[in-house]
Amino acid sequence: MSIFVDNNTRLVVQGITGRDGSFHTAQMLKYGTKVVAGVTPGRGGQKVEGVPVFNSVSEAAKKTNANTSVIFVPAKFAPDAIYESTDAGIKLIVCISEGIPAIEMVKVVAYLKDKDCRLVGPNSPGVVSPDDTKVGILPGHIFKKGNVGVVSRSGTLTYEIVDHITKAGLGQSTCLGIGGDSVIGTKFIECLELFAKDKDTEAVVIVGEIGGRDEQDTAAYIKQHFNKPVFGFIAGKTAPPGKRMGHAGAIIAGTAGTAAEKIKAFEDNGIKVGETPADVARLLKEHIK
C-alpha cells in the first residue's frame, strides 16, 4: 500500500504542452503512471506522448475519469488551474508550480476547505509510490519499494536522503514533497495521519527546514498521536536570520523558525534527528534490521 497515489491514480497533466509538462509526462509514463489526459486551453484535440489533450479539466475528467491532477503551469495561472481541477471534481491536486503569491494561496486554501479535494504543494516536487506511480518531477531511479514513508519540504534534498535510504538497502512506501512555500495545501501532520493508517509504512522520515513552526507542531503531534518511529532532518542550521534561503517559506523571522528550535522540538518529543543526510539513513538502518 501507499498514500496519495497508487495504481488507482488516473492523472491529468495541466500544462501538458509546455516544456516541463511534456518532458515530465514522458517521464511519468515511463515510470508506469497512468497519465490519461492533458489540458492546455486552446490546444484540445492534440496529443502529447500519445496522451490526449483537452481544453478544460472538466472535459478531461468526464472523458477519461481522471481523479488526480498535476500542475505545471506558470505561477501566474496556477491558482486558477487549482480552482479548475477542484471544480472538475478532481480528488488530489499536486502543484509543481513555484512562485505563487502567498495571498493567492490563502484564497486557494479557503476555497478548497469544504471541498472533497486535497492539494499537495505548491512548489512541490511531487509524490511517488515506488514501483507503482509517480506524479511530479522526482527522479524515478532513486526510489525502491519498501516500508519507509518520506515527507519533505524540499526537492533535491529529499532525493539526497532517499538515495541514502535506498543505498542502505531500505525502500519507501510513499515519498512526497509538500512544497517549499509558506502557505501550502497539505502539511506534515496530514501526511502522518495517512502514514499511520498505511500498513506498509513502518517508519517515517520528515525532512524539514528553517521557517515557520510546522516542524514544532508536528513534533508535538507525533508524541501524542503517532505510534510509528519517526526520524528527522532539518536544513538551514547555518542560515542567517531575515534572509530568504531560496524557498519562499525558508526564512527565519526574528528569532523564530530556526533550525536549532526545530531540532530541539524533534528531540524533546523523541524523534531522532540526523546530523547529516547520510546520518538519517544510518539511524533508520539501526532501527529497521
Binding site: 516541463d20 518532458f23 505561477a75 501566474k76 512562485g99 505563487i100 503569491p101 502567498a102 495571498i103 494561496m105 490563502v106 484564497k107 486554501v109 479557503a110 476555497y111 518531477i137 527522479p139 532513486i142 519540504r153 524540499s154 526537492g155 533535491t156 534534498l157 529529499t158 532525493y159 539526497e160 538515495d163 517549499g180 512555500d181 509558506s182 502557505v183 525532512v207 527546514e209 528553517i210 515557520g212 513552526r213 510546522d214 507542531d217 532532518f233 536544513a235 538551514g236 542550521k237 547555518t238 542560515a239 542567517p240 534572509k243 530568504r244 534561503m245 531560496g246 519562499a248 517559506g249 525558508a250 526574528g254 528569532t255 523564530a256 533550525a259 546530523e275 547529516t276 543526510p277 547520510a278
Partner: protein, 376 residues
C-alpha cells in the same frame, strides 16, 4: 523585499492612513530646509532597513536649529549594524498620548491573514510574542470576504476605550488590510500607532515587507527597491534567476535546489569548515546558469575553494559540467574546484571533466571534507 520607513509612509498616505508631517532628506542642507518647513522641534530618523535604530542613536529629537544641524550630520555619517546611513526622515515631533501596535501578516499555521494588535507600542512584536503572547490580540480575516467591518471594530475596541478613537482605529485597520492584500505584502506594521494629545491617531512608524512571489504584478513596488542597501551579488543573482545569499566563510557552494543548498552549507560547517554562501542554481539549470553562478561566486574574494554539489534530476550533470568547462576557459578561476555530481547523465559529466583538473567526490560528505582539506 523590504522598503524604507519613508517609502512605507508614502504608501500609507495613498491609502489614507495619517502619518506625521515629514520629509526624506539626503544632506544636512536638506534637513535644515525641511525642519523649517515642518517646524522645530522635529525628529530626525535614520532610514536603514534594520531594527534597533533608536538604540543605535539613529533617531533624535532636535529642539533648535543648532541641534537640527548637529543630529543631521551625526546620523547621516553613522553606521547602524554595519549599514551606512544615507537618508534620514525629518518628522514632526508628535505629542504622544499613548502608543499601540498594529500589524498584519499571513499566519502560515492557520493559512489565513491575521491582524495583530497590542496595547504596548514601540516594542518589537517578536519580543512580546515570546514573553507574553496573551498581550497580543488576533483577528483573522476571511480569505474570500476580506476583513469585515465588525472585525476591524473588534481591533479598535480592543485597543481603545474611547469609541471615537476605537472607530478611527477600525478605519485605519481596514485601510492597512486593504494595502496588505492589494500590494502582496508579507508584513504591514504600524509600530507605534499613537494617539496624540489632541486625540488624533497617527502612524508614527511604518514597516512594509513584500512577498517576493507577488512582485511580478507590482512593478511600482519593485521600482522602490533600494539597490544601494542590498548586496550587489544578491541582486545580480536574482536577475539571473539564481538564489544567492552571502555568508562569511571561504568555501563557495554551488548547489541545485534550496533544501540541498542549505544542507550543503550545514555539512561544510559540520565537518569544521565555513560556507561562503548559499547558492541555488535551480531546477533546470543550463551551462549558462552555471557560468553566471561562478561569476557571482568569484566576486567574493573570501572564496578559497569551490564546492559543486549537484543531485541531478531535471538538472543534467552534463549541463553543469559544460558550464564548469566554459567557466574554466573564460573566467580564469584560481581556486580549486571540488565536484560531486550524481544523477542524470553523471557518467557523461565525469567523462567531460576528466581532463579539467578538478577534484572529484562520490558523496556530499566526501566533497565537503575534501573542500576543507584543501584549505589546510
Amino acid at each position: 523585499m523590504k522598503v524604507h520607513e519613508y517609502q512605507a509612509k508614502e504608501i500609507f498616505k495613498k491609502y489614507g492612513i495619517t502619518t506625521p508631517k515629514e520629509k526624506m532628506c539626503r544632506s544636512v542642507e536638506e534637513v535644515t530646509a525641511a525642519s523649517n518647513e515642518i517646524g522645530i522641534p522635529c525628529v530626525i530618523k535614520a532610514q536603514v532597513m534594520v531594527g534597533g535604530r533608536g538604540k543605535a542613536g539613529g533617531i533624535k529629537l532636535a529642539k533648535d536649529d543648532k541641534e537640527v544641524k548637529q543630529h543631521a550630520s551625526d546620523i547621516l555619517g553613522m553606521e547602524i549594524k554595519g549599514i551606512p546611513v544615507k537618508k534620514v526622515l525629518v518628522s514632526e515631533a508628535v505629542d504622544i498620548g499613548s502608543e499601540a501596535y498594529l500589524g498584519i501578516i499571513v499566519d502560515r499555521t492557520e493559512k489565513k491573514t491575521v491582524v495583530m494588535a497590542c496595547k504596548e507600542g514601540g516594542v518589537e512584536i517578536e519580543e512580546i510574542a515570546r514573553q507574553k503572547p496573551e498581550a497580543i490580540y488576533k483577528v483573522y480575516a476571511d480569505a474570500l470576504m476580506g476583513l469585515m467591518p465588525h472585525k476591524a471594530r473588534e481591533i479598535g475596541l480592543f485597543l481603545y476605550e474611547d469609541p471615537k478613537v476605537a472607530f478611527e482605529c477600525a478605519s485605519i485597520t481596514t485601510k492597512l488590510y486593504k494595502l496588505f492584500v492589494d500590494l502582496d505584502s508579507s508584513l504591514a506594521e504600524i509600530n507605534p500607532l499613537v494617539v496624540d494629545k489632541s486625540g488624533r491617531l497617527i502612524a508614527l512608524d511604518a514597516k512594509i515587507n513584500f512577498d517576493d512571489n507577488g512582485l511580478f504584478r507590482h512593478p511600482d513596488i519593485e521600482a522602490m527597491r533600494d539597490r544601494e542597501s542590498e548586496d550587489e551579488n544578491e541582486l545580480t543573482a536574482r536577475e539571473q534567476d539564481l538564489s544567492y545569499v552571502r555568508l562569511t566563510g571561504n568555501i563557495g557552494c554551488v548547489v541545485n535546489g534550496a533544501g540541498l543548498a542549505m544542507a550543503t552549507m550545514d555539512l561544510v560547517k559540520h565537518f569544521g569548515g565555513e560556507p561562503a554562501n548559499f547558492l541555488d542554481i535551480g531546477g533546470s539549470s543550463s551551462p549558462e546558469k552555471v557560468m553566471n553562478a561562478l561569476r557571482i561566486l568569484l566576486k567574493d574574494k573570501n572564496v578559497k575553494v569551490i564546492f559543486f554539489n549537484i543531485f541531478g534530476g531535471i538538472t543534467r550533470c552534463d549541463d553543469v559540467a559544460k558550464g564548469i568547462l566554459e567557466a574554466k576557459k573564460t573566467l580564469s578561476i584560481q581556486q580549486p574546484i571540488v565536484t560531486r555530481l550524481t544523477g542524470t547523465n553523471e557518467d557523461k559529466a565525469i567523462e567531460m571533466l576528466r581532463e579539467a583538473g578538478l577534484i572529484f567526490a562520490k558523496t556530499m560528505d566526501e566533497g565537503a571534507q575534501k573542500s576543507i582539506e584543501l584549505l589546510k
